[in-house]
Symmetry: C2
Subunit: 730 residues, 2 copies
């Protein structure tokens, strides 16, 4: 349920080429099909068959899209339907065995049992390279399935097109109206052998108006076809090597762009050289961290996490610098600036972008510029909420782009016009028709009878507004600072002193009556309950603690979160987390709790922070197939792991503070882009010594639990001294 | 059944803005709906209601598409469905009366009875300007219907989009997969008053997957929406003038292009100045011909015909020079070169393009370049067959682009690389998979068991091949000349000496057995029967006559075509012509016969040519609402009228000969683009004097019935002497 994929990609690659093990529809007869949730990334380990290899995947999302341009090599009799998993021989899909499967950075291979084809995949940023080794020299087929996709449903494919350019090249596109309402992925394909014959699945075509195209034989080398549901097949004669290679390049602009991406990135047929070049890119990413861990499992976990933090946001721009914007116009970035897509911001503002501000500063600056371009191109003039492929999909809540921007500002990212960025933040935060903002601006809180999930929204807006205020303060734009400072206290307006929790209010001012702090599926909250969400005031933790009865009471309250026995009834119907993701009522498998463990620091109980950190690191991330306790959420779960195992965490992004936890590493070096290193030394690290006795920054003992970015940016030496004995100071 | 439209347009305008009187679907439950045929141009005079005003229309086609971006002004209660014709109050459509309807060049107006709104329309090349005068100052609504279209069916609209840019501007697009499989029309709209409120028909939207857009109120000023079936409404407060004006600009490239077209062509709100500027363009077109006729009806007919010859092909290019090509890429023409679309070539190669070679030489050269660009962009590397909006729709048969190119060459059109054009012709004519060409190349005729309508195809290919040969001869490319000269005799291979008709053959060589020369719906022919099609050898008429028994026998045979009594059974189920379009078995309402009347000249019976010409001109074109005897076919019916009433006709386009008929004009001056005039003087023209006694070219009596382009191109004086007495010589 991590919803990650095992396929080949380079860091932040546009092409993420991976096997899809089934093609479950999002809806059947207009009704949501809960089975689809498993296939957010296209792959489920227990599935017995592979339908094909598609070129775009989200890593770790909880809703989905993509799975574009599915390729399947087959041998023997041509079959144009995918068939069913229980009888792979009924279609072009194939059984496979995990024994014959290899997944490495920028390399995936599997033996397709039904076709006796060894499939190997590698990529460049914009091109997928397929190497298929057949067991027989003849009857080699390639299925190009433009119907297939992730979270498909009837009507999602609005148009697909294939054009055979010559015996070696085809181009085309797939246009969908799904989570992204207006998305077109253009492609170009080059084959290493000439096409012998080709055609289309005319069963699909006959279902629609064909006009005068009906005069042609669409199965007999007809050079172009267009339909909402289009599959094509290509047949080849092989030589003695029995190998057939494909390059499949993508573009989000047009077919010419895809061809240019291909000739630029993959000028020859050297599969191994592309594989090695991509491996080298991965090695460079992994090498940014040099860590020693207590055991092999931790080491696997750590570098798996690093890997997962480099799968998104992804490059959304051709080699020419062009990309299609939200305004449907083609934009061209200056050299050295890359446009990125896939901003799962409700997740990634928390730790992923702050992590990028340490180790991916150039990329993160480009991501901020991409978010600002989104805002300029948007009909709403809003920064992205959850954006992919130049589409706002409006998933989840908040306007957390502002947190990413404030964090970038406070951590000194260069090349960004921050005054313009602040304007974009303000414009976004004043969009009255968006998700209760009007109510929030009028009442000081989102009224549940005006917009649902009102508590979650109020709390997150208050935090976002604090980010805007910080940015305005830095830029000395005091009117904005004051407006948004005021708004940033809105969390107080949903605190119910009687219950001691943040609780939904109506427009009338009264709290809603029905209330169970542990119930996730009740009015006021989204993907969380009152217990979890009430702890969400990352920008004013002290004030929150005071509201909730002061430090002592808060410490007990917070500890009970981890120790309570949660009744099963509270866990039913929750798709985004697993049973294993829960400790008491603490839900590590989803984001609203990601800062919570660190709150003990504020009430003089860092020992509890330290204790629960070790538990989470060791039980919620496991070095096995189903090792994640929830969706990886585009790297957020993994970024939490990286920060936390290094010993600190950005509880309040937008500030320049990190909060000290307890390291899992035995030692670490983080190589910054400016050449400096953050060195982490951990004395007496062990399974038992999970408590921090003392922390030294550049040799000086720290007295506070806050570690400032200014102390890290030009390199630092952090020394943790560990102990088996809990301590309320360090 | 002329399938013309009464709306406003400038000559060859991209925008052809006209009322649609109904929106009959092409198919109901997957079954063809024959009622749709009436609505090829969106308008039927007898209809009691108007659904709205859309911006694109074909003039005179027999299959259809377009009807994009339908606008309807309404007053009173907002209604978001069109309602039904028998009860216009059930929706936004309106009853109207022809008494309150005015249709003039570049101006259309009507009173919308149900809403008491005076609608006035005018255009520039790329912008429709709407002026609505309401009877009340408030409750003014505009419906923007992106669902509506001509020849719509379920699934034809694949995607539509609306974005409200500010209080005065909206942009969007309509993407369809119909006759043109991949067509997107982008638009921009400017209102003269600020939008008060707006929204969308959420009934339509709720039928599809909405993703997280469901969190918004789509009826309450939500600034963008996308769906396959989308209607939007806009509400306005008016001032005391009670007027609301709209500019609606189109682009085939993108929304930016539509905005640029608007600001360039319509910088202000002066409806009258746009109307007058367009009128002046029309006046310039009509002024190219100065004719005197025998009566007012003829005069109306003549200039109506001129009007209809200037409605297509239409400009398909933004003011920037950009257009979207068949390869889905954006192309930019050099200054002074215009890309055109809508090539109904099976119709228009006959007389419309030859007419353009007299009076629209610059435009026709650009049309040839547009056809060549089509060929370069096409997956098939074929010149257009029937092309619109950068889509080949494959309607009808032949590859008559080659005729247009050969005619352009022989009539000296400049600015065309004719060697490249010849290559395009040859490539087209050798496309084996297209409509029996493979069979034709192998056997010397299209075998009916390999490709249907085989006789029609064989005859038209033979003529087209002759055109290619002539072009090759002129360019001294003798291998091509010989190949295609040989192919141009293929008509002989389908002549059946036993029946005396052109008759379908099988691959085995034998003629098909079932045969009735008058039956239109039999194997071998398309939109014609053996009787009509057997006369189709325009390039080798003498040889055809010899095949058919010599001149004397042919003269009798041909005359019987006009005098026979055609049984009703032959006329049933034929949609492209009216009963009134037939004389004997001569069908003037469709194209295969358009050269036939002139064939009497070859057998010494010009008197019969002359006699039947006058009958056709006077009975098949009438100065009344239903005056055309068949679809105008993008100007071909009208071009026939113009040539024939001037006294000559291009029986074999691609040659530089015209064939002398008999004028209907009393006198005529045709102003050529080079400043020269063709002057036609008709002595003793009258109702009775319909026979030609003598013809003088520049004072010299003509002895042949062929008039050569070389004699006309720098101006000429033609003098016809008429008589009531038939004569077999002139």
């Amino acid at each position: 349920m991590g919803h990650t994929f095992p396929g080949a990609t380079v860091p932040f690659g546009m092409v993420q080429l991976s096997p899809d093990t089934d093609t479950i529809p999002y809806a059947v007869n207009g009704k949501y099909n809960p089975d689809v949730y498993k296939y957010c990334a296209g792959y489920q380990y227990e599935d017995p068959t592979i339908v094909g290899f598609s070129h775009t995947h989200f890593s770790g999302t909880g809703h989905s899209d993509l799975g574009d341009i599915l390729i399947m090599p087959t041998s023997g009799k041509l079959q144009l339907n995918p068939g069913i998993a229980s009888n792979p021989k009924s279609g072009f899909r194939s059984a496979y065995s995990h024994e014959n499967e290899i997944a490495k950075p920028n390399y995936y291979s599997v033996l397709l049992d039904d076709h006796q084809i060894l499939a190997e995949l590698t990529t460049t940023t914009r091109v997928g390279i397929h190497k298929y080794t057949f067991s027989e020299q003849d009857s080699a087929n390639i299925i190009l399935d433009l119907v297939s996709g992730i979270y498909n449903y009837d009507g999602k494919n609005v148009n697909t097109y294939v054009r055979v350019v010559d015996a070696f090249h085809i181009v085309g596109f797939r246009q969908t109206a799904g989570w992204a309402k207006n998305r077109t992925v253009y492609f170009a394909i080059e084959f290493s052998k000439p096409i012998k014959s080709y055609g289309y699945d005319d069963f699909q075509l006959k279902k629609v108006y064909q006009g005068f195209w009906r005069k042609f034989n669409l199965k007999d080398n007809f050079p172009e076809m267009s339909a909402s549901q289009l599959r094509a097949f290509f047949e080849f004669d092989l030589d003695a090597s029995k190998e057939l290679l494909l390059k499949v390049s993508l573009s989000n602009v047009n077919m010419e762009g895809a061809l240019l991406n291909m000739v630029t990135e993959t000028p020859n047929w050297s599969f191994d050289s592309y594989r090695k070049a991509g491996e080298a890119l991965w090695q460079a990413e992994l090498n940014k961290y040099e860590v020693e861990m207590l055991n092999e499992g931790d080491l696997i976990n750590f570098y798996t996490a690093v890997y997962h933090t480099c799968l998104g946001p992804t490059v959304y721009q051709d080699v020419s610098g062009s990309y299609r914007g939200l305004d449907f116009a083609d934009h061209r970035n200056p050299d050295q600036q890359i446009n990125y897509t896939t901003f799962s911001l409700w997740d990634t503002y928390r730790a992923l972008h702050p992590l990028f501000n340490l180790v991916q500063r150039k990329r993160n600056a480009d991501m901020v510029l991409s978010m600002m371009a989104h805002q300029e191109q948007s009909a709403h003039r809003m920064l992205p909420v959850w954006s992919h492929y130049a589409n706002e999909n409006w998933c989840m809540i908040g306007y957390h782009s502002v947190s990413v921007i404030a964090d970038a500002y406070n951590k000194g990212l260069e090349g960004i016009d921050y005054n313009k960025a602040l304007d974009a933040c303000v414009q976004t935060a004043r969009t009255r028709y968006f998700d209760g903002i009007g109510s929030y601006m009028d009442l000081g809180y989102v009224a549940e009878d005006q917009s649902s999930s009102s508590v979650s929204k109020t709390l997150e807006y208050a935090y976002d507004d604090w980010c805007i205020a910080q940015l305005a303060l830095g830029l000395k734009r005091m009117d904005i600072y004051e407006e948004f400072s005021k708004r940033s206290s809105a969390y107080k307006n949903v605190f119910d002193p009687k219950s001691g929790f943040m609780r939904a209010r109506l427009k009338s001012g009264s709290f809603i009556e029905k209330f169970d702090p542990l119930e996730t599926h009740q009015a006021g909250y989204i993907e969380g309950n009152a217990w979890n969400y009430s702890l969400y005031v990352p920008h004013q933790v002290d004030s929150m603690i005071a509201l909730m009865g002061g430090k002592k009471r808060f410490a007990t309250h917070l500890d009970s979160l981890f120790t309570m026995q949660l009744a099963d009834k509270y866990f039913e119907h929750t798709e985004d987390i697993t049973r294993e993701g829960i400790m008491g009522s603490y839900v590590h498998g989803n984001e609203p709790s990601h800062h919570v463990i660190y709150l003990f620091d504020w009430v003089g109980r860092p020992d509890l922070t330290q204790k629960y950190i070790r538990q989470v690191l060791r039980t919620k991330y496991l070095p096995k197939i189903d090792g994640l306790s929830g969706n990886d959420d585009c790297g957020q779960m993994s970024a939490w792991y990286i920060f936390t195992s290094l010993g600190f965490y950005p509880v309040c992004p937008g500030s320049d503070d990190y909060i000290i936890g307890a390291p899992l590493v035995r030692s670490a070096k983080i190589h910054l882009e400016n050449g400096a290193d953050i060195t982490i030394e951990v004395k007496d690290q062990s399974e038992k010594n999970l408590f921090v006795k003392a922390v030294y920054l550049n040799g000086k003992r720290m007295k506070d639990f806050r570690l400032n970015y200014q102390h890290l940016k030009d390199g630092a030496h952090l020394r943790f001294e560990m102990s088996a004995k809990p301590s309320v100071t360090f």
